[in-house]
Amino acid sequence: MCIFTGKFTPRRKEKTSCVNGIWRKLSSSMEEDEFFGEKTFQSFCAEFIKHSQQIGDGWEWRTSKDCSEGYMCKTHFQIKPGTQVSHPETSAHVQTCLPMEEALELPLDDFEVPETTTGSEVIKYEYHVLYSCSYQVPVLYFRASFLDGKPLALKDIWEGIHECYKTRLLQEPWDTITQQEHPILGQPFFVLHPCKTNEFMTPLLKNSRKINRSVNYITSWLSVVGPVVGLNLPLSYARTTSQDE
C-alpha cells in the first residue's frame, strides 16, 4: 500500500515506492524496507492525536516557527519519592510503568505536592515524536527535569525504565540512547536511536498488508519504543491501530 496516498499499489513489473508523493524504483535490497515522508508522518500523528483527545491522553501537535515542520508532544508529571514521603501510597507509582498513566488523569492543580515534606519531588517528563528525514522514520525525543528546570541526567532516567530493557540498554547505551539537539527547539534531549526502527516495523507492516489491514505506523511504533523510556500507551490505542476499510 502506498502509505502516502492510502491506495494499494497496482501490480507493477518493477518494485516501486511512493515517498513524499514521488514514485521511485526500489532496488531489491530496499523493497523490504518501509519508508514514509513527512506528510504521511503528520497524517498518522493527526490520527493518533485524535484518539489521544478522545481519551484525554495529553498528546498535542506543535509546529516550528515557520510551520514547515511539526511534531507530537506530551508532558506528564510524576512524583518521585525521596527519603521521606508524606503520601506513601503514591511511591508505588514510581516502580512500575503502568501506574504512571493513572497520574496523568490528575490535573496539575490536584497534585498534592507537599511543601514541607523533604525529599519528595515532582519530575516533569516530556516526550516528543519527530520525523527524521535522514532515516525516514519517526524518532522519539525525551527529557526529564525537576519543576525548577534542573534536568535529570540519563542515569536518573534509567530508574524509570522497565527492568526488561535495562540489561540490554545498559550494555550498549551509546548505541541506543544519545543526547542530541532537538531539531526544532534547539535544546538538548535524549533520543532513542532510529537506526533499527525499520527492522522491527517492517515485519509488522508486511503482515498488515498480507491481511489487508491498514495500520497507524505511529501508534504501532510508539507502542514498541515508548515503554523502553517509561512511556506506556493505554490499550485503547490498540483498537484504532488497525481498521478494516
Binding site: 512500575t96 503502568l98 526488561c164 540490554r168 527492522e199 522491527f200 501508534t219 506506556n232 490498540a238 488497525s242
Partner: protein, 140 residues
C-alpha cells in the same frame, strides 16, 4: 494444515523459568505438566467467573520469526506480557541480543507489565486471546 492437539498445555510458572520449564514440556505428548502450585486446567471446563481461570492464548509468528510447535497455551490471568516474552524467548532459544515483541490486533505492543487477563478482556474472542510475536534486533 497440521492440527494442534486439542488439550491445552500449561505455561510453566515463572518461578520455574530457570531453565527447567520449557525444556520439560513436550509438545508431542500433549500431557499437561502438573505444576507445583496452581491447579492443572483444561481451560474450557472451569466455571465462568472463576478468577483463577486461565486464559487460552494462541501464539502466532510474524515475519521470519520461528514458529512455535505448540501454539496454544493456558496462561494465568496475572501473567504479564514480559513474562510471556521471556517464556517464548526461552522456548525458541533466542540469543540475548534478540528482542521479542508481542502484539495484539497484529499491530499494537502492550506494555511489558500488562496482564494477559486484561488483554483477554479487551481483545479476546471465541474464548481465546490471539497474540502475534516477532523477533527483532531492535537495539544495539
Amino acid at each position: 494444515m497440521a492440527e494442534e492437539p486439542d488439550s491445552v498445555l500449561q505455561l510453566p510458572p515463572s518461578t520455574a523459568a530457570d531453565g527447567e520449564g520449557p525444556t520439560e514440556v513436550s509438545p508431542e505428548t500433549a500431557t499437561p505438566e502438573p505444576p507445583s502450585s496452581a491447579a492443572v486446567s483444561p481451560g474450557t471446563e472451569e466455571p465462568a467467573g472463576d478468577t483463577k481461570k486461565k486464559i487460552d492464548v494462541l501464539l502466532k509468528a510474524v515475519g521470519d520469526t520461528p514458529i512455535m510447535k505448540t501454539k496454544k497455551w493456558a496462561v494465568e490471568r496475572t501473567r504479564t506480557i514480559q513474562g510471556l516474552i521471556d517464556f517464548i524467548k526461552k522456548f525458541l532459544k533466542l540469543v540475548a541480543s534478540e528482542q521479542l515483541f508481542i502484539y495484539v490486533n497484529q499491530s499494537f505492543a502492550p506494555s511489558p507489565d500488562q496482564e494477559v487477563g486484561t488483554l483477554y478482556e479487551c481483545f479476546g474472542s471465541d474464548g481465546k486471546l490471539v497474540l502475534h510475536y516477532c523477533k527483532s534486533q531492535a537495539w544495539g
